[in-house]
Symmetry: C2
Subunit: 429 residues, 2 copies
Amino acid sequence: MSDTPVVRVGLLGCGHVGGALLQLLTGHADDIERRTGLRLEVTHVAVRSVAKERSVVVPEGLLTTDAAAVATSPDVDVVVEVIGGIEPARELLLSALKAGKPVVTGNKELLANVGTELFEAAAGSGVDLLFEAAVGGGIPLIRPLRESLAGERINRVMGIVNGTTNYILTRMTEAGAGYVEALTEAQGLGFAERDPTADVEGYDAAAKAAILASIAFGVKVVAGDVYREGISNITAADIDFAHRMGYVVKLLAVAEAVGDEVAVRVHPAMIPSTHPLASVRESFNAVFIEGEAVGEVMLYGRGAGGMPTASAVLGDLIDAAHNLTAGGPGRTAPLARASIRPIDELSSQYYLNIEVADRPGVLANVARVFGEHGVSIRSMEQEGLGDEARLIFITHTARERDVQATLAGLRELEAVDRIGTLLRVIGPE
Amino acid sequence: MSDTPVVRVGLLGCGHVGGALLQLLTGHADDIERRTGLRLEVTHVAVRSVAKERSVVVPEGLLTTDAAAVATSPDVDVVVEVIGGIEPARELLLSALKAGKPVVTGNKELLANVGTELFEAAAGSGVDLLFEAAVGGGIPLIRPLRESLAGERINRVMGIVNGTTNYILTRMTEAGAGYVEALTEAQGLGFAERDPTADVEGYDAAAKAAILASIAFGVKVVAGDVYREGISNITAADIDFAHRMGYVVKLLAVAEAVGDEVAVRVHPAMIPSTHPLASVRESFNAVFIEGEAVGEVMLYGRGAGGMPTASAVLGDLIDAAHNLTAGGPGRTAPLARASIRPIDELSSQYYLNIEVADRPGVLANVARVFGEHGVSIRSMEQEGLGDEARLIFITHTARERDVQATLAGLRELEAVDRIGTLLRVIGPE
């Protein structure tokens, strides 16, 4: 009846995100048509097993196990991938792109590891490769960075990009829970996996950091370039001390321009409690962008979940469909490989918590080690622990290399019993 | 030497924003070319007086006083308007759009009052009309709403979109200043105009609310549709009381879908101190979006200032230039006129502060008036003020019409000396 252009969608995968996307496409079809002048029609849904029960009703005849055929089908105008993982997603998307089909994906592992190959294939065919959902779930992040801030010189991007760790740290902060207790609670609520390694050790955040760095600085950064520490060593005492000093502890993904190089890292950090990132609680995500002209920008929202992620995929899908019908290709400039500044050469303030024998002269010995490596102490606090004492230091800005040498020196002191958490401190001197 | 496409820009106006834009275009030209594959070249700068001293050096031969000629010049591919106000901006942009030139503007008065006319002209010529800078300065806002959330059903948008009033309210909250004192301080710092009416009475925020509502709900909303109250009646006592109850007071622009209608209003409101908008301090702006699938999203940053605003204009300019060289038009769907739900028919919780004679029976009389109009009281607090008492009420959710009738009834009570601030309360019951 209507002469609205129809764009045919081939969906690879039908789990949480794929199911939610089908629901949105069905339920909001009229809205989408009214707002965009396009009709999006799913023609194929590739799954591993057709027989499997699903939370969403897939119209008869759409399901298939032949994902490779969907990726290059003549009945498909845009390919949406929500399978996750590197293979077979990589091979499927390469064949779709080479067949001249725009691709929408939310697959962070894929982009952070073999993104270059995909971008080259997209540029070669002059089609879109869109991935808003890969970082920060439903938060509009990639498009603002690529387009709204296209003329901006970005100095630093700092993000809370993993909801599991932010939930755990929020519970440790607000309920005084220990790490294990907060992790167990998160697992019980489905916010953490039974094997939480990918989240708590920062691997998930590192993949997202690589993608953010690539977009913010217009250079190729891969997951392997990202320095990474997790949160499993953070103690209730660290959080409590941070609180008393006016800080909160967050797992941050940080991408910085340092001269002509780029530094990308994931680690827990202390940030001032008045900083906008400090108020990002529970499983929410946010990315804080510092640009030369624009100043400070923060983008906040749900970093995961079927519906928020599907919302981001849908935004990309509409974009790809619009570009397809309007005849304008997307913007994919080939990226040069980033020159990565190693963490050793970065500078920061540091928080350090060490346990020492409680006897005269120990503090002087400890302070001497800091001094030998040129690390200046901004503040020190001492707490008695029976026969031991806990020394809590905040340094002035120092080089990572020198701080690591200080730690090595402290380990050699006979009076030092335990070296606790080392945290970078963000914020004013 | 290079075969990079050159896009020629005609700039109308060269004040704070125009000057900053020229600086960015000159200083970042290589960056922009590397990231976007485009060269942006300013060919004309239309100003009121060529002789006037400027903070930025404009290359010889670019300045002209003939804005009308720039708007339709064959040497101009894209027109950027940073004059402000309705005329002559309206006439200039209409002639540019009719001549088939894409337009970038940050002019909120223009869009909120005669936007429809401009959108029709843009659609008629099939060219872009972009205006990211019109709301929230450098914050990516319009593009995320239009594109990233293109498939999203948005329920509500709440924004802190005026930096002057947010600065004043922040000082009243954090330094305990009175309204006049905080306003005077803001004027001294250049955050408020000598005649602060447009900011403190909510006119600026209302224009932005109209634009936000149009984009969020895909319908025409004009400034005159927006219910508006300012902050000049807010007292230190209101702020203090809000704080004790766990709220902060902010001037909010709220656009809501109510059934098939849209309600748009600007007024001070109490929001819970754990709400992400509560941590938006000083002259920062933020917009909080509630979508059906995406959940809660917040976009935060500098809402004003030459450089942040120029950054947003530059993002749009690159977008328009890209669409021009790639041959794809932008997305401009014609909008239907919104059906506006009047404030009388909206519901909220309310804060009300009244001064009464301190004698027996007065509270019962006051409470009776609430009851007569079906307004249920959630909490009441009484403070002695010598011969008088102050009664502070928070209601359960009630209809605006009923609350206004309650106020009228209270005014008739002989024992009521003064009816203070009425504030809507956002957040859980």
